[in-house]
Amino acid sequence: MTSTQTTTPRPSPAADKGALVARTKRWGAFYQAEATLRSMRAYGGVILFSSTFQPIMYVLAMGLGLGVLVGAETDFSAYGAESYLMYIAPAILASTVAMTAGIEFTFPVMEGFKWRRKYYGAQATSLTPQQIALGHILGVSCRFAVHALIFTAVLFAFGALSSPTAVLMLFAAVLGGLAIGLPIMAYISTLRDEKGHAAIIQRFVIMPLFLFSGTFYPLTNLPQFLQVIGWISPIWHANELGRVVAFGQPTPLWLLLVHIGYLCTVVVIAWLAVRRVFIRRLGYDEWRGRVPGLKADKRRQSKQDARESAAGSYQRSEGVPLVNFRRGLGANYYSGNIRAVFTRGLSAIRNNRGIIFISGFLEPVLFLTSFGLGVSPMISGIEAEQAGLAGQDTISYAAFIAPALLAVSAMNGAVFDSTWNVFFKLKITKLYQTMMQTSLGPVDVAIGEICLALFRGGIYALGFLGVLMAAGLVSPLSAVLMWITAMFIALGFACIGMALTSFMKRFQQMDWMMMVLVPMFLFSATLFPIDVYPTGVQWVIQALPLWHGVELMRDIAFWNFSSLTLVHISYFLVMVIAGGTLAAYRMKALFLR
């Protein structure tokens, strides 16, 4: 047989194995970094948009909104800043980078080891485990740098920065991001499976560190024992470092060295830990990682086994008992078995670790503590419209934001449950597919899930209201009404959220939806009264649902009802009816796809 293959004069680039090995040895980490960056491209639009949009949002909300209140009473020239906006700008950069670190060093790492096993693909090449780890870190650092550059440019455009040395904030922010991200990466990479760990880290580590790191006020505003959190937090050190380079905040040399030294030490130690774990998992050991909650599972299992063997076995079942069938109107959609869906949710909550459940109520408490204690010294009181009728001139800042935070947490919980959770069960765990195999109808599933979201939200609201009552911020009667209102607000958002989810096709679209929530939180007169804004902007804010929720809560908290209260209530009634109708109409599109 004659060879028909044409022989090329040049040998294949893959021929010289020695050269390849040498090249990988030198550049391997960069190859992995390239892979990391390429996989970020799927989210490229979201990343660029958030990098541009976040600073603008914070400038408008915190710098200009809260700045009006704070600037009237507090002078920031002692810190070297011309305005409140300038004071918080570097800290917001460092904080947003830290938040991003909380995502980039958790989910993609889990994806690498478990969900898509990307790291095992790299392991099969001549890359070393430490190169794989370093590559991921380099890729993420690039994202931080791009984010910081865009952020800085926007801040310059708004006049929130004046000194050219402010560009150096980039290094402070990236260093801070790594100092908070690498320890998380080291921890996450020891896990065989992620069971809400990323959420726990977000809520128990990053959130407290962010809120008590002197981002929106000098750390010294807080009581001594809370300042300790700031000293430990890499975010505070990055904030302060950023302020020094951005507007020359007067800082003694030793403190400057402490900031840099602390961040570098954390980064180096955490890197060594990451390196060690990666070598264990991707090296010859092939360690598969810890299984969190294994002991608890075993304990529960043996307990259940023991209980069963004590009870003896069940008798043989005698045929299927007759099941009452709901016939008549809409029998194709609703089989009258919401309870089963709800019970399933409770079983799942019971089997999951309790800490995830508890963590939901932590966030509003942390916000209240941070802003109530930290911002209050800069503001003597709020002259809200409700204050006059309550028989006082002003109300305390903490009392002002507390009802708003309850409304926000009701919104967040409901939206999360009706969008992300529904989408996750639809696409990833296929739970709804399972349910739709049975005699359940889509309406059973939808209402069951909404009830579950309200049940969870109700418990969280109860916890938060307990804190408010203990702090003397609301009266018991108001608290009861506020609890009902929180459920009402949650129901409104859940109906709209579920209707919107029926139009979603990919996870990226969910990201965009989430991006609406943060500005809504920042602008809806939550942290400052609406009248800091010009009339035109006020109208826009008043059209948003959260503003109505916040105002409704305040009306109840300060026992100040007017015809506007009715408007707020009707707004949510419309949301429930319109969202519910649309969701019901889209029910088949949602669950039977």
């Binding site: 047989m1 499976d193 599972d297 529960r300 299992q301 259940q304 086994d305 069963e308 076995s313 069940y314 008798q315 043989r316 079942s317 045929g319 299927v320 008992p321 099941v323 009452n324 069938f325 709901r326 016939r327 029998a331 194709n332 959609y333 089989s335 009258g336 078995n337 309870r339 089963a340 869906v341 019970t343 399933r344 079983s347 799942a348 089997n351 999951n352 765990t429 296929k430 739970l431 597919q433 399972t434 349910m435 739709m436 195999q437 049975t438 005699s439 359940l440 109808g441 088949k588 039977l592």
Partner: protein, 355 residues
């Protein structure tokens, strides 16, 4: 088992309602794409019915329409005399569905999975506690009752999915590729369980692209391709109708298969005359007496050319093999086997079933 192809055009209405499943001119379109293009079939109670076809033939879509989770673009469908699109929950109450991918609830334990699933059907807890034990025994999962689902192996998960689908004692069990991705031992355990169900009178409807599975489990099957039915019958009947009894697989090396096919076809069709004289190579090494001569005995039908091998269809593949050897052709490898549904499919569509 009576094999009834009761298509509604001629069948009286009692036959239609007596059928477990009756589908007439079923069409499903997704935008421009037609997944199912006018399928008609009917499944009698207690029958084991198979949908055979390659990936993307429209099997799973048909299953989803039976299971009352997908709407039809046009056509009629009755499951136990009910329209799945109008009476979804009531139809699903009579079905047990085993999807292609196990969709077990990972947040619940093994036993909770069965009980919870029963709750979705509205079954009382007291019944379910006993039933769950029974099903765990059936699935050989008693010792795993309180484990988490993620601790189970692939075969165990599959058995749990099947056990779970039986919790409402369904009249019809829908199995979408029941053993795909399982190792041979796990497959046989599963087949054994399914066979028992069949014996106890449950109607089975399964899709598969594994011939052996179809041959093991199906009384009757339809071959589906591009959303239409290509053939219908029992596994053995289909083979008899569309293929020869045996197949000879030959490999001559990648480039030579096609040219060899022509030579062999000539050789095997021209065997009416005495072989020793017509042999162009005059090979004398193979004694003529051992070779069964005459077309009747080789029973040559045709040759299929695949990229990597030739398939020679003959009633007596051994005889054809010896004839080819006698003619001096030396394939690199050769294999004689029985004809399977794979060959039926190849004959009907000109394509392989598993690509």
């Amino acid at each position: 088992m009576p094999i009834t192809t009761a298509l509604a055009s001629s069948a009286p209405s009692e036959t239609v309602s007596a059928a477990a499943i009756h589908a007439q001119d079923l069409v499903k379109k997704y935008g421009d794409f037609t997944a199912v293009d006018g399928i008609s079939f009917s499944v009698t109670r207690g029958e084991s019915f198979g949908l055979l076809g390659p990936n993307g033939a429209g099997k799973s879509t048909t299953m989803r329409m039976i299971a009352a989770v997908a709407s039809r673009t046009s056509g009629q469908m009755l499951v136990a005399g009910l329209d799945p699109e109008q009476q979804g929950p009531e139809v699903r109450a009579r079905l047990g569905v085993i999807p292609q991918q196990d969709n077990l609830d990972e947040e619940l334990t093994v036993r909770e999975n069965i009980i919870m699933y029963g709750r979705y059907f509205g079954l009382p807890r007291r019944y379910l506690l006993a039933k769950a034990d029974e099903l765990l025994t059936f699935a050989q999962l008693e010792h795993k009752a309180n484990s988490r689902v993620e601790d189970l192996s692939g075969g165990m998960k599959r058995r749990l999915t099947i056990a779970r689908a039986l919790v409402n004692e369904p009249e019809v069990l829908l199995l979408d590729e029941p053993t795909t991705g399982l190792d041979p031992q796990a497959r046989h355990v599963l087949w054994d369980r399914l066979f028992r169900l069949k014996e106890s009178g449950t109607t089975l409807v399964l899709t598969t692209h594994h011939m052996d599975e179809a041959e093991q489990l199906c009384d009757r099957l339809v071959v589906v391709d591009h959303g239409t039915i290509m053939a219908e019958g029992s596994p053995a009947g289909l083979i008899r109708e569309h293929s020869t009894r045996e197949v000879l697989e030959l490999r001559f090396g990648m480039d030579r298969n096609a040219e060899q096919a022509k030579t062999l076809e000539e050789l095997l069709t021209n065997t009416g005359r005495d072989m020793a004289r017509t042999d162009p190579y005059g090979s004398a090494r193979v004694p003529d007496v051992a070779v069964p001569t005459g077309t009747g005995e080789v029973g040559f039908s045709h040759i299929e050319v695949l990229p990597d091998r030739l398939l020679v269809y003959a009633e007596q593949a051994e005889a054809a093999m010896e004839k080819i050897h006698a003619a001096g052709h030396r394939p690199m490898t050769s294999l004689v086997r029985r004809s399977s549904l794979e060959d039926v499919f190849l004959r009907l569509t000109g394509r392989s079933l598993i690509d």
